[in-house]
């Protein structure tokens, strides 16, 4: 069993509307996978299916080796952070975790350690009603880790977090991966997400646009690399002309550099040439970002899909 989550032709219909329509993919064990897509793409439906809160209308779904629909005991092995949950305002953070630990039949001795891990020890005995959004989100992460789950589902976990708190959250996600746990993480913040995930599932209007490791997706899309070069003084016009003769279009940027789109296949060859060019004093290579990949796939709500995975 190599996959934490595996689904094939998974479909969920609400009346005539297909919230998920014949989706097939998997989340490998021990990896962090981003679940991407605009509102209405089917992310929440997929998460509810994985948690066994709704029944699929068709297809096959296995979570940690079993069908999740109404499999209550399975949920002991899954941690879930819902999007912007408020929790019970009248309880303290510690009381909430105590209560949820009892429900999960997890050891309550974990509670203090988890509060420490998410940096809430100082506020543990304060009412949740007095917490900031970021503190509630960290408390939500702590409860998702109760019982050391094998699979953790995080729905927009960094919403409302300041940059440092987001980094802390991704540090914990990294620890989970190092510990062999699987994480499915939905987020709109692609740039922030990118360095922390092994792969992505990209949904659009209930269909899967792409799935796989970021590297594979990049290969599939074959997006050009962006190369920024700084020409020697006075050499700009001559350099542009030369690059264009070589088949590269060069766009001058306000910071005095030239932006080149270098096809993936000839990237190494082109870089060698550029490095050897005496008219160039500096050079920067930028691989296509997740956001560019996302745009290219047409994952936005209105754009048309270019590939079907």
């Amino acid at each position: 069993m190599n996959h934490a989550i595996e689904f094939e032709a998974l479909t969920k219909r609400y009346g005539a509307l297909a919230a998920l329509d014949g989706v097939s993919a998997c989340v490998p064990r021990g990896q962090v996978i981003g679940l991407l897509g605009h509102n209405g793409a089917g992310k929440s439906t997929l998460i509810k299916l994985i948690l066994g809160l709704i029944a699929p209308s068709g297809g096959r779904l296995e979570v940690l080796g079993q069908s999740p629909w109404r499999a209550h005991a399975l949920r002991r092995r899954i941690g879930y952070l819902p999007e912007s949950a408020t929790f019970y305002a009248s309880l303290s953070g510690r009381e909430l975790l105590d209560y949820l630990a009892r429900l999960k039949q997890a050891s309550r001795s974990q509670v203090s350690a988890l509060l420490e891990r998410v940096g809430l020890t100082h506020a543990a005995d304060r009412r949740i009603g007095t917490y900031s959004k970021g503190m509630r989100q960290r408390l939500g992460l702590a409860q998702a880790l109760l019982g050391s789950p094998e699979l953790v589902l995080l729905d927009e976990p960094t919403t409302g977090l300041d940059p440092q708190a987001s980094r802390e959250l991704y540090r914990i996600v990294g620890e989970l991966r190092a510990d062999g746990r699987s994480v499915l993480l939905s987020s709109h913040l692609l740039a922030e997400l990118e360095p922390h995930i092994d792969g992505a599932l990209i949904l659009r209007q209930g269909r899967l646009l792409a799935a796989g490791s970021l590297h594979t997706l990049g290969e599939q899309a074959a997006l050009p690399a962006q190369v920024l070069v700084r020409p020697r003084e006075q050499a700009m016009p001559e350099l542009i002309a030369r690059l264009e003769t070589g088949g590269l279009s060069a766009q001058p940027r306000p910071d005095g550099r030239l932006e080149l789109q270098v096809p993936r296949a000839s990237k190494l060859h082109m870089l060698r040439e550029l490095l050897a060019d005496p008219a160039i004093v500096d050079l920067d290579v930028r691989e296509p970002t997740l956001a560019q990949l996302y745009d290219w796939l047409g994952a936005g709500p209105q754009s048309g899909a270019k590939v079907a995975a």
Binding site: P82, A85, Y88, L103, G140
Partner: protein, 277 residues
């Protein structure tokens, strides 16, 4: 611990924390003492009267207050969590939906029963202390019956509130429905029956059916359980009118009361199992 008990213990504690239960306990104790002390003021006397007379008045009052409180403490029990975004979180834990509703139901019922027991128990203790009357075993049985039936009546309306909470999509609608439920069962049902009684004018067949129509309303069953035991119909016009020529087997009344305590809750549980989240 069983998840139902875990949820029930939390709801029970929350009801205390929200001061609902404490306020209720004090209210019950004050009402009981007030009625006991001033109950015979009309006859020109002030002071503790008999337990039975006090219970008769408390029954009439309890029939109004307990359903309202049962509905108020539980109407938002599911829909409130849906509004706050915690419902999905709770359902992601290893407990069945039925267990979640059952835990909430038991917790609220427990809080209401505790308030009834402590509130009225306190009043009885004070009455006993201030003016130790010669208590017969029967008087104690009546008090026990009153507290038990009041708790069951509370359970019935907590169950009804759970049902409303499961079936509605926002809190304000749930609150509105809870109030309508209270009006229907506490005021309108009896009015409708009284109207029927007047219109029918004593047709023997209809007179035989009416006493059983009362069993369709848990509030009336609560009154019957207590007032028929106290013997004189205790000043309730509807009961006197409807039941003057009818006697109910106590076992039947007990069973109907118990059924009313369980049925709305069972319906709520089934409805929640089928609900899309």
């Amino acid at each position: 611990m069983n998840p139902i008990l875990t949820v029930a213990a939390k709801e029970f504690r929350d009801d205390f924390r929200n001061r609902w239960t404490v306020a209720l306990t004090i209210l019950f104790a004050l009402l009981a003492l007030g009625i006991a002390w001033f109950g015979s003021a009309a006859a020109g006397r002030v002071g503790f009267t008999s337990f039975d007379a006090t219970l008769a008045s408390l029954t009439t009052l309890g029939a109004f207050v307990i359903p309202l409180i049962g509905l108020l403490i539980a109407y938002d029990t599911i829909v409130g969590e849906r509004d706050d975004g915690t419902l999905l979180l709770m359902l992601s834990y290893p407990l069945a939906r039925g267990q979640l509703v059952a835990g909430k139901f038991l917790g609220h019922c427990g809080a209401l029963a505790a308030a009834t027991l402590v509130g009225f128990g306190l009043a009885v203790a004070i009455m006993q202390w201030m003016q130790p009357p010669a208590q017969t075993l029967q008087a104690w049985l009546h008090i026990g019956r009153f507290i038990l039936s009041a708790s069951l009546l509370g359970a019935c309306f907590v169950g009804l509130a759970c049902l409303i909470s499961v079936q509605t999509t926002d809190k304000s609608r749930a609150a509105g429905l809870a109030l309508i439920g209270w009006l229907l069962s506490v005021v309108l049902f009896d009015l409708a029956l009284l109207a029927l009684l007047v219109v029918s004018g004593g047709n023997p067949l209809e007179r035989a059916v009416y006493p059983y129509l009362l069993l369709l309303n848990p509030v009336d069953v609560f009154r019957l359980v207590n007032l028929t035991a106290l013997g004189d119909g205790a000043g309730n016009d509807l009961l006197t009118g409807m039941t003057a020529h009818h006697s109910y087997p106590p076992l039947l009344l007990g069973l109907v009361m118990l059924a009313w305590a369980v049925l709305p809750f069972a319906w709520a549980m089934l409805a929640f199992r089928r609900k899309e989240v």
